[in-house]
Symmetry: C2
Subunit: 358 residues, 2 copies
Amino acid sequence: MKTLHVELGDRRYPIHIGPGLLARPELLTPCIPGRQALVVSNTTVAPLYLEPVRASLDGLRHEAVILPDGEQYKTLDTLNEIFTALLNHRFDRNCTVIALGGGVIGDMAGFAAACYQRGVHFIQIPTTLLAQVDSSVGGKTAVNHPFGKNMIGAFYQPLGVLADTDTLATLPDRELSAGLAEVIKYGLIRDLPFLEWLEANLEALMARDAAALSEAIDRSCRNKAEIVAADERETGERALLNLGHTFGHAIETGVGYGQWLHGEAVATGMVMAADLSARLGWLNREQVERVRALLARARLPVQPPMALTPDDFLRLMAVDKKVKDGRLRLILLRNLGQAVIASDINPRLLIETLETSL
Amino acid sequence: MKTLHVELGDRRYPIHIGPGLLARPELLTPCIPGRQALVVSNTTVAPLYLEPVRASLDGLRHEAVILPDGEQYKTLDTLNEIFTALLNHRFDRNCTVIALGGGVIGDMAGFAAACYQRGVHFIQIPTTLLAQVDSSVGGKTAVNHPFGKNMIGAFYQPLGVLADTDTLATLPDRELSAGLAEVIKYGLIRDLPFLEWLEANLEALMARDAAALSEAIDRSCRNKAEIVAADERETGERALLNLGHTFGHAIETGVGYGQWLHGEAVATGMVMAADLSARLGWLNREQVERVRALLARARLPVQPPMALTPDDFLRLMAVDKKVKDGRLRLILLRNLGQAVIASDINPRLLIETLETSL
């Protein structure tokens, strides 16, 4: 087992990574200050992993709420089911909400914990690669609104994270690939040696080699933890984590939540960001191709959906959170391993990227 | 005009109190960092005060959303109308939400500001006495759930508060009284000289004497600001502000939101808390009568609704946020001007209070 800490002062918390963690209550119970725990899971994950987690909670009062599975359920209405469960069980301000599932469950359970009685304790047990390398670090929680993704949420940190790599055994291939998109992102934005390691080890990761997965999760979380410790509320450097996300959110919203996986949309978005970076003279075409090839090897889409026009993109990108006072900001690549925040992008170049990609 | 500051480090903010403030854009605009402002108001307040506020926003992009008036609309569904307005107008992360109305509007607009894009700027323009002395200080925001009041919310501080005493001219008598309940509360929990001042000046306040109202608002806000600066997230002393609230929330929930005003329920709750304090030997009967008499002079109810039984109270109080790990905590009075947090209250004495009051 590897353990790293996200350094946020008095909200410092541990991330444990490795196999067999669900069966180790001594990792979970130190993160539960009170006597009440609500496990939030979904209809796919609960049959597989709810019982071992509840067994780890033996001695506490523990309940569970099982939500429908999918990004299309990441809504205020589903969030309210968590509040109703907490109130039905008369859970108080010292209770703990435990997210058991992927990013959607983590985002909703975390936001519910942030809001219930204005804030209760929170623990993450991410069961997808994407959640283990992305949403488990950094405290971003949210639900979607029909007009925009993740538009309603909070920054809220867990007391601890258990990333049990055994849970990846049951992950569908498509979701493994989606997680690898975010792993590759860390290499692209700030860690060229990690990018090169990924190029050398991608087949091992695709084959779910346990040691390779643990290494990739650990290096991803360390990269993200460094960024989050420096800029918790995304006033600066943290925005770099959004490489590919403005394009990606436009895809997710444009085709309707639940059609593309988040990581798939980000993968295509990163190719588009690399293309635009090349048009600005920052990358050469070989580097763009290197980005595209690595993502394609991970069996990720590298081209946006045919149904979206450049105009659709421009409209959908205008409501993204990365817009500031009406001006579009994008995360682009100055070089491989070096992302930057770019403002005042020449709209003609952006349209060229959209027209060439579509 | 009086100005005081709530001392919260880098989130320090000013409260301006006095007549004619709505007509002074120089007080409002320094609190708006960006170029976009959404005024959140309701169908009662907007016809009276929306235009002067929008006039003060001249030069910015300003929009308004008008919600139905009443505690029964303080729900996730109404909250979502604010999100929809923000997204419809394509407001970004640097926008400002301005609450123009009473406590319900302040609570909802503040919670919307806390959640929209994980937090945007927020300003309060409270137009009721209750909101001016209570919800404008301290950053508590929330909506109700059918199973409990203020169960879903956040701690979120405004960048500034304008308490224009002219807006109290249009306040219904019943709401003026409800505000006085919270004013009297500050005297009861920590400021005996203020309690005595209120006993001497209650008729002037009831007659809406401008100088008396400004003085009462200023002294109330100073008391609350001191408590909040010492204990922003209610881990200790801040809980004292809940004198009368556990009984009061039970009344509000028990009779259905919108039947009793919050201040009315708190007034009755404070009489019940004083009665229980007397049963514990902390107050004498003359002091309980002094509390009851002052609240009655403010034309506030001092007796719970006939429809609620002691069992109703016990059931409703068990889900209150002041419950910790299943044990009931209440704010009671060690003396007039000295509130304390009381745990492990003898249930027999509590039931005596309920049976005698009902």
